[in-house]
Symmetry: C2
Subunit: 273 residues, 2 copies
């Protein structure tokens, strides 16, 4: 296994190769610098239209940045030679709505009727926050962002429904408005926050015990700010009780070749000015 | 029939009712002020996932702002009581890739296996250009924007492929960069232009004879600027040769209830700050 520090200078393509060959299986925050990272959902074609509708109706948690052809594991519009069966550091397998396995390769589970979706990720706007001098605690401390189920409902589509999942970052009180304005410019990376302040107002009982990721401390002079999170589909998948569904492990993302400041999330567009 | 000037002060809901009842069948530029307008594509469910993939891969011409449930003509996330069978001023019917009829209501063609898509429209960014003091000739002169097929290919998905359609506006030479910057902020309304300058470079032979819409004159001190256009799917539909497909008539759009400065194109989101 290669370590996190060694991989920081690798290109997205080189990083994916290391992951594909099984030499790295940890989180991707801070890796593949300048490239869009993505949440992954892989599910059977017979529910793919409903899932894509769910994403369209919930664009803050689920901004679609790439979709495979049915049965084709190559994500051709997101990068060179991206094989979605092997290029994510760690996957969760859900069966009938229950997470049953964590694996580093899904080639033996992938079938000809599956469709893979890549959804935008908060790593993109975190770079922008840090560039503005706003510290992002979980990155500075090399942990995974804390994520929580909320009481906010999503807009349903077919079998997909459930509550919004959010990620939390502590922001200095006097910079919350600035953080809102900065992140609103990233519609493919969850956009502006959905809540700032009292966690109880959106149904979060205890911010020291996240549902996914690692806890982050409350900081003096800061308030907790909550952004829609790409783990939201995993809650919807639990509700949909599909026979089989594959996702990334939270924090362990697909690193694409799309620049994170691209106007549209497609590589090699024929015309673009 | 009610006339255009009378309708300028109507709300989107009132305007849709007038259209639904058959009292207005002309273009919608400048109507439903402040509300997002949309291109419409209605097609059979068995190609709807491919069509939605086509839109995702070609987000500049085809920014999806709403999708109906299969067989349900109500576009619930785009506005109150929007019935897509009657709320567009004029429709084109395509059969086997050929435009065969122009009608003002499609209730007798709609079937239980159809899915309706609403795609963002350039009217949104035109308001922003005009607010910045850049004249938009076809609006000032109450005509439909000129639209052209280009030699730029789209990214295909399933049966959908073909060349990009663009709309043209003459922009003062010294304000082209500003026009690019303004429109880039509207990813749900085609974003930044795809070309500025010589039409021949993108395969347009004669800008005085548009493929859709009305001609607009070349203006002294201006250059032609071309934006991706929501009529692009109509070219893809011609290539796909579907048994039946319904679109809006170019320029004759669905007026939604979504504010044109909304962060996401969904009405009544449970939480939004």
């Amino acid at each position: 296994m290669l370590d996190y520090q060694t991989l920081k200078s690798e290109t997205p393509a080189a990083l994916r190769q290391v992951i594909r060959e099984g030499h790295y299986g940890s989180h991707t925050a801070g890796l593949g610098k300048g490239a869009l990272q993505a949440n992954i959902v892989i599910l059977p074609a017979d529910v793919a239209l409903d899932f894509m509708r769910f994403c369209q109706r919930n664009p803050k948690p689920c901004p679609v940045i790439a979709v495979s052809d049915t049965g084709n594991p190559m994500m051709t519009t997101a990068g060179q030679k991206i094989d979605i069966r092997s290029d994510v550091p760690a996957y969760y397998i859900y069966r009938n709505g229950v997470m049953t396995e964590e694996v580093t390769d899904v080639a033996d589970i992938w079938t000809d009727d599956m469709v893979a979706f890549a959804l935008g990720c908060s790593f993109t706007f975190e770079h922008a926050l840090m560039a503005a001098g706003i510290d992002v605690w979980h990155i500075t401390n090399n942990t995974t962002v804390p994520m929580f189920k909320t009481a906010i409902p999503t807009v349903p589509a077919g079998p997909f429904s459930g509550s919004l999942v959010v990620s939390m970052r502590m922001i200095p009180k006097d910079r919350v408005e600035e953080a809102k304005a900065i992140t609103r410019h990233f519609p493919l990376a969850h956009g502006a926050p959905v809540h700032a302040g009292d966690p109880a107002e959106i149904g979060i009982k205890d911010i020291s015990t996240p549902d996914w990721g690692d806890p982050a401390p409350e900081l003096e002079g800061h308030i907790p700010v909550f952004w829609a999170c790409g783990v939201t589909p995993q809650a919807a998948i639990q509700n949909a009780k599909l026979p089989v569904c594959i996702t990334h492990k939270p924090g362990h993302m697909l690193v694409t070749d799309i620049p994170d400041d691209a106007e549209v999330p497609i590589i090699n567009l024929p015309n673009s000015i």
